[in-house]
C-alpha cells in the first residue's frame, strides 16, 4: 500500500496526468471540503481545485518528500483559494458599488442566527484556523503542516479565535 503510493507519486513526477488525478481523487472529500470552506460555493471550490491541480502538475518535480504529497498539495490548494478570493474582491471593486442597499434590513435577522456571519467578523487568521479545526475536524499537526505555521501558533490562534467568536456572538463565559 505504502509502496504503491510512493510509486504513484514517482509516476506523477514523470508527467503522468492520470495518476495525478487518481491521487487527488482518493482524497477528493478532503480536498473539496477544504476548498469549499474557503470559497463557500461549489463552483468556485471546483475552480480553485482546477488551479491547484495545474500548479501541482507543474511543480511536483520539486516535491522532495513523496510521503508529504497530500499536505503539500493541500497547502497549494489553500493558496489557490486565497488568490481567487483576492481576485474576486478586485472584480467587485471595479464594478459598480450599489448605492441603495435596502437588503441590510433583512440581513439583520439572519445575522443573529448564522454563525458564518460572526465568523466573517473575526480576524482572517483566526477564522481560517477555526474552520479547519471545527468544520473539517483537522488535527493541530495537520493544520500546522498545511498552513506552514508552528504548532504553538495553531493552538493559540484556536484559543483566541474562540474567545473572539464568543464576544462577537454575545455569549458570556460560563
Amino acid at each position: 500500500m505504502e509502496n504503491e503510493f510512493i510509486q504513484m507519486i514517482e509516476r506523477a513526477k514523470k508527467g503522468d496526468k492520470e495518476v495525478l488525478i487518481e491521487l487527488i481523487m482518493r482524497q477528493k472529500q478532503d480536498y473539496y471540503r477544504l476548498a469549499y470552506i474557503y470559497m463557500k460555493n461549489p463552483d468556485e471550490a471546483l475552480d480553485a481545485m482546477e488551479d491547484m491541480i495545474l500548479k501541482v502538475y507543474e511543480n511536483i518535480k520539486r516535491l522532495k518528500d513523496n510521503a508529504a504529497f497530500h499536505s503539500w498539495s493541500k497547502t497549494i490548494l489553500v493558496n489557490c483559494c486565497k488568490n481567487n478570493l483576492r481576485r474576486k474582491n478586485r472584480v467587485i471593486l471595479s464594478g459598480s458599488i450599489p448605492e441603495v442597499a435596502y437588503a441590510d434590513v433583512f440581513q439583520m435577522k439572519d445575522e443573529q442566527l448564522d454563525i458564518e456571519k460572526h465568523m466573517e467578523k473575526i480576524n482572517y487568521k483566526f477564522r481560517e484556523i477555526l474552520k479547519l479545526r471545527y468544520y473539517l475536524d483537522m488535527e493541530y499537526e495537520a493544520i500546522a503542516a498545511i498552513l506552514k505555521i508552528p504548532l504553538g501558533t495553531v493552538k493559540s490562534r484556536i484559543h483566541t479565535g474562540l474567545i473572539k467568536l464568543k464576544e462577537s456572538m454575545g455569549v458570556s463565559e460560563e
Partner: protein, 435 residues
C-alpha cells in the same frame, strides 16, 4: 446555545454531509489537458467591466445621414458626417488597403486613415463571407502601437450591409505624436475564451495630415454653485472641435473628500456657437483621476468662414454629499426643507400597513440619491419610490412629486439625506477670441 463549540460542531456536520460534485474528476482532467493554453480567468472580467465603463463614458456620436457618393471611400458615406464627407471629397487623408484574415475567413481591412491634431480616424472593414458578420468575435479592444507609445481607441461606429457580410467602421484614435511614422493596428478575436491576437502595420504619410484650424488656451472660469468650472483650451481641427476643462483640481478634490463634501458631476452641458449658430455636439467625457476632475466636449468642425465664436454654459448638475438629518413633523401640515439651498417640500407623511410613506416634491432633476429614515432611533433604508408625478408651473419650471416607502412606522421620524443630485441651469456666455 451557550456552548460555542457545539454550534461549530453542528456546522461541521453540515460540511461533512456535503457531497463532492461528480464533475470534479472531469474538471481536473480538463484543467490538466488545457494547461498549455492561455487561460482567461477573472482578470478578463475586470477588463470587460473596465471596457463597458469606457463605452458608457463615450456618448454616442450622432452623424447626420445624407446619402453621398465619395470616390475614395466607397461604402463609408453612412458613417461619415457632412464635414468628413467634404474632406474625403477633397482627397484629404491617406488610402491604406491592408488586411488580415483569421483562419475562419473573417478579415479586417484598413482602408483609409485621416489625421489631424485632434484625432486619427481609421476607416476599416470587417468581412465575414459566411454572412454572420454581426456575430463576429473581433473585440473592440484596439490600439495603435508605434515606436514612442501606444494610442488608444476612443470611439467608433459602424454600419452593416444588407447581406450581413461586412461592417464598415469609422474609429477614432488619439492622434499619434509628430515623429511617429510606422503604426501597427493591434486587435484580436476572442475564441472560446482565448485571445487570438493579430496586427496590421502601415506607414503614416504626414503630408496628408491636416493640423488644426484654431488652437487657443482660454483659462476662463465660469462660477457655478459651490465650484468653478475652468475652460482650459479649444482645439479645432478639420475633423472635430474639442473643448477641454476641469471642474476641480486634485487639491480641491482632496479637500472636499476630507470634509465629506464631495461633489460628483453628473451633467455638464456646454453649447458651442459659431457665427450665431449652434455647432452640433459629437460627444463628451468626464474623468476623475490624479489630475482632478476633468472633462472634454467634442463638437463638429467649425465653419471655415468663422467670424464669431461663443461658448454657452447651459446646465451643470452634480451629486453632492449632504450628510444632514431633518426632523419630520407629522401633524398634517406641509413642511419645507432647505437642503443645501434646494427646496424640498414634504407634502404628506402616512402610516400604511406598518410602513411609512412620505410624499414630497422638488424641482425636476433633484434626486435624493442616498437617503434613509430614522424611525424611533432606528435607521431604515429606502424600500421603493412610487407614484411619480410631474407638474409644469406657469413660469415653466417642472415640479416632481413622488412618494418614498420605508418599511416600519413610528412616532419620531428623521429624514437622513446623505447624498443629493441636482442640476442648475445657467445662461452664461463666454466669448472665444478667434484671432
Amino acid at each position: 446555545m451557550n456552548n460555542i463549540e457545539e454550534i461549530l460542531k453542528a456546522k461541521k456536520l453540515q460540511v461533512s454531509e456535503m457531497n463532492v460534485p461528480e464533475e470534479l474528476e472531469g474538471r481536473l482532467r480538463n484543467a490538466l489537458n488545457k494547461n498549455n493554453q492561455f487561460r482567461f480567468g477573472n482578470r478578463f472580467r475586470v477588463y470587460t467591466a473596465a471596457m463597458a465603463m469606457v463605452f458608457i463614458l463615450i456618448l454616442s456620436l450622432n452623424y447626420d445621414v445624407v446619402a453621398f457618393y465619395s470616390k475614395q471611400l466607397l461604402g463609408y458615406d453612412q458613417v461619415m458626417n457632412a464635414s468628413l464627407k467634404q474632406l474625403s471629397e477633397l482627397g484629404k487623408g491617406q488610402p491604406i488597403g491592408k488586411s488580415f484574415t483569421f483562419d475562419n475567413q473573417v478579415s479586417l481591412t484598413v482602408d483609409y486613415v485621416m489625421l489631424d491634431e485632434n484625432q486619427l480616424l481609421l476607416f476599416y472593414t470587417i468581412k465575414d463571407p459566411s454572412g454572420h458578420v454581426d456575430k463576429n468575435d473581433i473585440t473592440a479592444f484596439m490600439s495603435l502601437k508605434a515606436f514612442w507609445g501606444e494610442y488608444n481607441h476612443q470611439s467608433s461606429q459602424g454600419i452593416i450591409n444588407e447581406e450581413n457580410t461586412e461592417i464598415k467602421y469609422l474609429a477614432s484614435f488619439e492622434p499619434p505624436k509628430l515623429f511617429e511614422k510606422n503604426l501597427t493596428l493591434k486587435f484580436s478575436r476572442i475564441l472560446k475564451g482565448r485571445e487570438d491576437p493579430a496586427e496590421i502595420s502601415f506607414t503614416l504619410n504626414r503630408n496628408t495630415a491636416m493640423g488644426h484650424t484654431l488652437k487657443k488656451t482660454l483659462n476662463e472660469t465660469i462660477e457655478v454653485d459651490k465650484t468653478k468650472i475652468k475652460i482650459h483650451s479649444i482645439l479645432a481641427s478639420p475633423t472635430k472641435t474639442v473643448i477641454e476643462g476641469s471642474i476641480q483640481n486634485i487639491f480641491e478634490l482632496a479637500k472636499d473628500q476630507l470634509n465629506g463634501e464631495r461633489l460628483r458631476a453628473t451633467d455638464l452641458t456646454l453649447k458651442l456657437i459659431a457665427n450665431g449658430k449652434e455647432v452640433e455636439r459629437q460627444g463628451s467625457g468626464m474623468s476623475t483621476d490624479m489630475k482632478g476632475m476633468t472633462f472634454h466636449c467634442d463638437y463638429d468642425p467649425l465653419p471655415t468662414d468663422l467670424e464669431q465664436l461663443q461658448l454657452e454654459m447651459v446646465n451643470f448638475g452634480a451629486d453632492h454629499d449632504v450628510n444632514q438629518q431633518f426632523k419630520l413633523i407629522n401633524d398634517g401640515e406641509k413642511q419645507s426643507l432647505n437642503i443645501q439651498g434646494q427646496k424640498v417640500e414634504i407634502n404628506k407623511i402616512e402610516k400604511v400597513q406598518g410602513e411609512t410613506q412620505i410624499t414630497f416634491s422638488s424641482k425636476e432633476g433633484l434626486i435624493l440619491s442616498r437617503v434613509y429614515l430614522w424611525i424611533d432611533g432606528q435607521r431604515v433604508s429606502l424600500e421603493q419610490t412610487i407614484m411619480d408625478d410631474y407638474e409644469k408651473l406657469l413660469d415653466g419650471t417642472i415640479i416632481h412629486t413622488r412618494t418614498m416607502r420605508f418599511l416600519g412606522a413610528g412616532d419620531e421620524l428623521k429624514l437622513d439625506v446623505q447624498r443629493m443630485t441636482y442640476t442648475t441651469s445657467y445662461d452664461k456666455v463666454l466669448e472665444i477670441p478667434i484671432n
